[in-house]
């Protein structure tokens, strides 16, 4: 190759190389706001020299490749951190909802309803035969039930929302994995020698989006395709195949290549799915269980005290609030089907029968044997039937224990130390046995005079101004009861429990403080993770993102080089002209 020809070809190559570099700069500037775009750099190198006329001469410039300026380690750390951050953001959002449900700084909260309820018993004690006090007490009780029902319903609603989110999330994951598999196919199809930078970026962006849904691991194969697995190693994408997840309403399942579906619910810890599952399987059930424990204990304590008392009016008929599944089974055993069967102990209660003038016609002590072979619903009914065949009938109908007096006769109860009346739901204040089912005894709604403020006296008399039972009820708010706090963990359906002895209100407060503490700690870790993610993101941006200033500097650099190369062409041209003009 001779002189001017070499110069011209060097100039041509330089023009092309600078133009390519300008193209890359243009591409970078154009993508300055593209999420996940990695800044590209043209790698220029001097061509191999060739010997000419005894010297070795350089032969210009060449564009070797265009590389992505990427630090894979930081990309991966950032992705993982963002995945954790998403989990926390979701938990935080739901905890905020949960806090709002408990709504403790307002007057409509459960704890203020509870206080009002106890105060209403004080008011009744101050005026035991007052109908206004009785109606107010009934309404206070109904508000407590309503607050419990609402909370329980809200918990269910939250769980439903999470399940809907899980369903949509799984669909998103499947779309993303399918797209990643598609890109794998394209990248592998281009062969190992090509570098499809923008496809890599696109794939990385998809993986990042996928990591917002669940915790991931990934690695690149020799052919350039990316294998993506869940945090625990279940393969989601392998070469051009993607393995779908599915959601069956409760569990997230992984459709593996060959064998049956696998339940991977408990292995997902990161991303939105991790946050949702933590909320659904750990946080919500723990608090819901505690709320039910609170409702159950409150209902039982109030009912038990209520069943010891007597209203302004005596009973002419009473139906138990709790269902018996088998009247032939011992009342104190689980087979009886009673919700509070375990509260029944050996003991007795007194049934007072009054004639149509209100005088005591019979008083019978009925003994309860809670052990195997002991009292059944049927045997209790026959014992009551034996008191006065013509005027008093007891039976189990539709699963409820019923006592009816006839001929103007009426009856009342006293001194039940076997808890059998409260367990059967006879002469009780509430019905139900958890937050969802808590309700007022319907018999009280139609006749508030059945609210038991008094107790039957030793000779069967019931004084209208007797407030013994109402006073005992007002004391329940100070009584310390042994209860249990529950904590669920992922992958186990049985919670760990810790026993506490505290008042009903204190139990509620510790439940609420636990919600507050958890919410606070989730917010703190979210904030901490956010700072780290921001820093990592900045580091990543500083390595990989586009700087307009820098690109503009490069633009001018390459532009000048282009002008200079063009000058080379015109110089070569002038040299040719000079030669040709020589005569």
């Amino acid at each position: 190759m001779s002189g001017i020809g070499l110069l011209l070809s060097t100039a041509r190559d330089a023009l092309l190389a600078q133009q390519t570099a300008l193209d890359v700069v243009g591409h970078n500037i154009a993508n300055v706001n593209t999420e996940g775009y990695t800044r590209q750099i043209p790698v220029l190198s001097a061509r191999d020299p060739a010997p000419y006329a005894g010297v070795v001469l350089g032969r210009g410039v060449d564009v070797d490749e265009v590389v992505r300026n990427v630090d894979n380690l930081i990309e991966e750390r950032l992705m993982q951190r963002r995945s954790d951050l998403k989990a926390m953001e979701e938990e935080e959002a739901y905890m905020a909802a949960l806090e709002a449900l408990l709504n403790e700084s307002s007057s409509g909260s459960l704890s203020s309803h509870l206080t009002d309820f106890w105060n209403a018993w004080h008011d009744l004690a101050n005026n035991p035969s007052g109908l206004a006090e009785r109606s107010a007490l009934y309404e206070r009780g109904a508000l407590v039930c309503q607050a419990l029902n609402d909370l329980s319903g809200d918990f269910d609603q939250l769980e439903k929302q999470i399940n809907l989110a899980l369903d949509a999330g799984v669909d998103q994951i499947n779309e993303l994995t399918a797209e990643i598999a598609g890109l794998n196919e394209q990248i592998a199809g281009l062969g190992v020698f090509s570098t499809p930078n923008d496809l890599y970026d696109k794939r990385q962006a998809l993986v990042t989006r996928l990591s917002q849904y669940l915790d991931l691991q990934y690695y690149e194969d020799a052919d350039g395709s990316l294998t993506v697995t869940t945090g625990r190693g279940y393969v989601l994408v392998s070469r051009d195949d993607s393995y779908d997840l599915s959601f069956d309403g409760t569990d997230v399942r992984w459709e593996s290549s060959g064998t049956a579906d696998l339940d991977i619910t408990d292995t997902i810890t990161g991303g939105k799915l991790g946050g949702w599952l933590e909320m659904r399987d750990v946080i919500l059930p723990s608090y819901e269980r505690d709320l039910n424990e609170l409702a159950e204990n409150m209902i039982w304590e109030v009912n038990q005290t209520h069943s010891l008392g007597a209203g302004v009016e005596k009973f002419t008929s009473v139906t138990g609030a709790y269902s018996i599944s088998d009247s032939g089974e011992e009342l104190g055993t689980v087979d009886s089907g009673l919700a509070f069967y375990d509260k029944i102990t050996d003991g007795s209660f007194k049934l007072w029968l009054y004639d149509d003038t209100g005088a005591v016609s019979a008083s019978t002590t009925l003994t309860i044997d809670a052990d195997a072979g002991g009292t059944t619903a049927s045997s209790l009914a026959s014992a009551i039937n034996a008191i006065d065949v013509t005027h008093l009938t007891a039976s189990v109908s539709n699963g409820k224990f019923t006592i009816t007096a006839s001929g103007g006769y009426s009856f009342a109860f006293s001194g039940d130390d076997s808890n059998v009346l409260a367990a059967l739901g006879i002469n009780v204040f509430f019905t139900g046995d958890d937050a969802e089912s808590a309700d007022m005894n319907s018999a009280l709604e139609s006749n508030k005079n059945l609210i038991a403020a008094a107790r039957v006296g030793t000779s069967g008399q019931i004084a209208t101004g007797d407030n013994t039972n109402a006073l005992a009820m007002a004391d329940l708010q100070y009584e310390e009861i042994s209860m249990t706090h529950y904590i669920y963990t992922r992958g186990s359906s049985t919670p760990t429990s810790s026993a506490v002895t505290e008042t009903i209100s204190s139990y509620l407060y510790s439940l609420e403080s636990s919600v507050g503490i958890r919410s606070q700690s989730i917010t703190r870790s979210r904030e901490y993770n956010e700072v780290i993610a921001e820093e990592l993101s900045e580091t990543r941006n500083n390595i990989s993102a586009v700087s307009i200033d820098e690109e503009l500097a490069n633009l001018i650099k390459f532009q000048h080089a282009y002008s200079a190369a063009a000058k080379l062409v015109s110089t070569a041209d002038e040299m040719f002209q000079t030669l040709l003009e020589t005569r």
């Binding site: 300055v32 106890w118 007002a474 209100s505 407060y509 993102a545 586009v546």
Partner: protein
């Protein structure tokens, strides 16, 4: 160090978000006047607040109980003081009439007076607070003492019971504010179902006295005087007992008032924001926010493009 364009935007965005979030939080504290606005702001403090709030409500209820109890006791005190006056009046009348110098016409006039006073005592024994009888034990809805002068001999019967009506003034702390009427107006072992059997009560003494006056029996009148003295001391004892109970309620009420004050104070300390401090905080956040906006707008404007 290389700074990418997006880093600049991202950090401006993040900083402004953070500062404005802090400013809003400071604003919430100022506008609600409360340091704790939700559970997670201070879970431990919040629980103390809840506890105190329900304690205060409970104390307020106890205050209401005490106010009601005091009405009962004061009504009882007033009624018994009047009974005491009447009995003293009857006593001086009886002393007069016991004299041999008094004629039978005067005695029969005195008998009429005693009859009138008897009915006054009866009305006082049936004293009520609202609709509730206070001297009927816990049978508050039935007239405790009824007089049937058609009966021979005429007698007063008691329809109340022996348990006293109580109110709650604290955890496991009850004070009887009603009275078992039998204790005051009759002997402990008086058999109301058989008044003629000979035991003693105020009404029987008065009825007997009336009879003795009508029959000019000075010996009978003398005997009635002794019984009147006994009744007077019983009523006196009952009045001083009521006085003690009123003092007990007053003491308890003072304790409750003090407790309520200290609870409210404690609650306010935990829950309420120091307004001066909160406003200062809000202002410093505002300044930070304005500074962030001002400096950010300067950084964002600068670009090499402008100089080419």
């Amino acid at each position: 160090m290389r700074i990418s364009t997006n880093s600049v935007y991202d950090s401006v965005k993040a900083n402004i978000t953070r500062v404005s979030d802090q400013m809003l939080r400071a604003n919430l504290i100022v506008s609600t006047g409360k340091r704790i606005n939700k559970l997670s702001d201070d879970p431990v403090g919040m629980v103390s607040v809840l506890d105190l709030r329900s304690d205060i409500k409970n104390l307020e209820q106890l205050e209401r109980n005490i106010t009601m109890g005091r009405t009962w006791l004061k009504t009882g005190e007033a009624a018994l003081t009047q009974v005491e006056d009447i009995l003293s009046q009857v006593k001086s009348l009886a002393i007069q009439m016991a004299s041999e110098n008094v004629g039978s016409s005067e005695r029969s006039a005195a008998a009429e007076t005693v009859d009138g006073l008897l009915r006054q005592v009866l009305a006082l024994a049936n004293s009520k607070v609202g609709d509730r009888y206070i001297f009927g034990g816990t049978n508050t809805d039935t007239t405790p003492f009824s007089f049937d002068d058609e009966d021979t001999p005429p007698e007063v019967t008691y329809a109340g019971n022996a348990s006293a009506f109580s109110i709650k003034i604290g955890n496991d702390l009850e004070v009887a504010v009603g009275k078992d009427g039998e204790q005051i107006f009759g002997d402990d072992d008086f058999d109301w179902s058989n008044a003629s059997a000979g035991e003693d009560n105020i009404f029987k003494t008065l009825l007997d006295l009336k009879g003795y006056l009508e029959s000019d029996s000075t010996a009978g009148i003398q005997g009635a005087l002794t019984k009147l003295d006994n009744h007077l001391s019983t009523v006196n004892a009952a009045i001083s007992d009521i006085g003690t109970r009123i003092i007990r309620l007053d003491v308890k009420e003072n304790i409750i008032a003090d407790l309520k004050l200290s609870y409210t104070d404690r609650m306010s300390r935990i829950e309420d924001a120091d307004i001066a401090e909160a406003i200062m905080d809000l202002q410093s956040r505002q300044v930070a926010y304005q500074a962030a906006l001002a400096s950010s707008s300067k950084i964002l404007k600068v670009s090499l493009v402008d100089y080419l």
